[in-house]
Symmetry: C2
Subunit: 382 residues, 2 copies
């Protein structure tokens, strides 16, 4: 039943608007010709708007993971100390990427469901002295926790002359992220999350301080992720390697939609939808996984009620009620379910999802007051 349209409430990929899907039908063109150069220009400019940056933003034909590896491998030399707060599956992965490129990980272990604070980062920077990079998963897609003190971490990075890399894959376009104002040297995003575009493209912004390090680096990054080569080609308005042209068209269209809506309005919409989710969960006596002060506006992670199988909840929601949500990852695979609150999400999608969740729980004999979640969410939207 692959052809059937379901509501995709995953923490990526998300529902893609028809106009974005249709943009992929534009003719495949020469990626070494003026048409593609113009397309690349338009996309790059629009990305600067969304990243709120005057820095360069590059698009890679890869998943977000590829772009994080690109950022990491271009700025660390073997033996460089890198602070990695580890508080979920994706920050575990980040640690691996740093190690793979010769970085010496200074791990800041945080209980899953919480997020690192600026103070914690500052303490390590002071203690370790020669830290080169702070690498932070900005929004832990696996736990639904957002690092709220990223701006303060940017201040510390500038003050201590350390670089700051943010993996903002599951938050860019869905919550505040003024890259320049927050002094983020390398910010990574993906097409299939809050940008509401199909998967296959990722972006990385590169600031002035990052370039200084990149240009001095002794060990070269992977060929496919070489930012110096990417910058050289960008100056000629092209990409080093054949880009996923159809996805660039889609990205252009989704960025156009973001510009039409405006960032402020978009972030407010995401926040409102998240608030509705959390309020509904509360009314249903379901507990969000992350601590209250770090709950994400884009990924809603919920503890599976005792005695219920999370996989079954997802199955019933998808099969019977046509709403697709995700399970957990890593060590909390069974423990939680996750709902994406991303991209084109509005009141309608939130209510449909809560309704599907209530019904699935009732089907699975979990004692629940049908309608309580919807009623609570309604209040938020009114």
């Amino acid at each position: 039943m692959a052809e059937e349209r379901r509501l995709i409430m995953l923490p990526g990929p998300t529902n893609v608007p028809d106009r974005v899907m249709r943009a992929m039908l534009k003719p495949v063109i020469n990626h070494r010709g003026p048409e593609f150069s113009a397309l690349l220009d338009r996309v790059s400019e629009a990305l600067k708007y969304v990243f709120e940056t005057n820095q360069d933003v590059y698009v890679l034909t890869s998943s977000g993971t590829g772009a994080v590896e690109c950022a990491i491998s271009n700025v660390i030399d073997p033996g460089d100390k890198v602070i990695v707060p580890v508080f979920g599956y994706f920050s575990e992965r980040l640690k691996e990427k740093v190690t793979r490129h010769g970085g010496k990980v200074v791990e800041l272990p945080i209980e899953w469901g919480n997020a690192p604070t600026a103070k914690q980062i500052e303490d390590i920077v002071k203690k370790e002295k020669d830290v080169k990079l702070i690498a932070v998963v900005h929004n832990e897609t696996s736990t639904g926790a957002t690092v709220r003190e990223l701006p303060e971490m940017g201040e510390i990075a500038v003050e201590k002359d350390v670089l700051l890399m943010a993996d903002s894959i599951s938050i860019l376009g869905g919550d505040y992220l003024p890259v320049d104002e927050w002094d983020i040297d390398l910010c990574v995003a993906g097409s299939q999350k809050c940008l509401a575009c199909p998967p296959g493209l990722a972006m990385v912004s590169v600031g002035k301080r990052a370039w200084e390090k990149i240009e001095k680096k002794t060990v070269k990054p992977p060929y496919y992720f070489d930012l110096i080569s990417i910058r050289d080609h960008a100056s000629r308005k092209e990409t080093p390697f054949t880009p996923a042209i159809s996805l660039y068209y889609a990205l252009e269209e989704s960025l156009k939609m973001i510009q039409e809506e405006g960032l402020e309005k978009r972030y407010h919409r995401h926040a409102k939808c998240a608030q509705a989710f959390y309020t509904a969960l509360d009314a249903l006596e379901l507990k969000p996984y992350p601590a209250e002060n770090v709950r994400s506006n884009t990924v809603i992670a919920v503890n599976v009620p005792q005695g219920i199988d999370g996989a079954r909840i997802r199955e019933v929601m998808a099969e019977r009620y046509k709403v697709v949500i995700a399970g957990g990852l890593g060590k909390i695979r069974q423990k939680i379910i996750r709902i994406g609150c991303m991209g084109i999400v509005t009141e309608a999608e939130v209510l449909t999802t809560i309704n599907a969740l209530e019904n699935a729980l009732a089907d699975l004999k979990h004692p629940i007051k049908i309608g309580a979640g919807i009623e609570a969410a309604r209040q938020v939207f009114q």
Copy 2:
């Protein structure tokens, strides 16, 4: 004028059939769910048919370059001797990739427009003794030369216990390439060439002997290109990172078209079209760039006639006659023009292209007998 349909006779990307384009409109799904697993299964099986292999074939969300880097970085350890025949722009690049991952390149320099022979490879393998890998660009997209003795190189590789990697990006699906029969340990392809799919995906087949090396490797490959992780995930019918789902749908459809046509018929069609091109060029007194015995069936490279600007030929062909062809790359950038003879190419596209070329040359005051090329090509098709 990005919306205008032109005939894309580039050596990639190529014209994409409407049914392949439309396949991208299928709904974006959960890449961690059963629907994507089934899609991945179908694509993998169809790829085995095209690669003529029982080995594993993996799809990467990247350009072909990424997949070549994947192949290289997974099988060489620092200091490993790698034979790289260098006979064009892409084999120059291949050399760089080997170097970047610590390989010691043993270069076999070949005059551009020619191709390495098995004897040349054998001589180096014998002389160097401890060669670990023969890395060959199978079809030099930059010069239009095909390595015709790849099967013999496979024999040498097996006999001398050396691995063989073929960058078959611009030939797989357009000319004979029975990966298992030819003993190719790692074979790399791209979506946007002879498979007639949009760009953004690449494939790599990995044979038993390659796995033995991969498993023993001391230095890990880039995280994004880690074949062991890719294999682990493939065994659970998923990809390590979010795949470009829409492009997988397109690839599925284009592979279906290949199965419907049959490999033999498809290769014969490509060969016939190439023959028509070469015959027409001869009639027009235009000289192919590569030596006669290595001329490619998928990339037609032609010397620009004296006194004419190749860029102008392409411009007139594209703007006035709506046929898009490519220029040269690297040191022969100005010297040649290149025509893709790939994917869904038939008599119609060949004649349209020759017609556009004749007219553009006449417009540029090159002495040419209008119709001579068409007349010659007609003979081939009759």
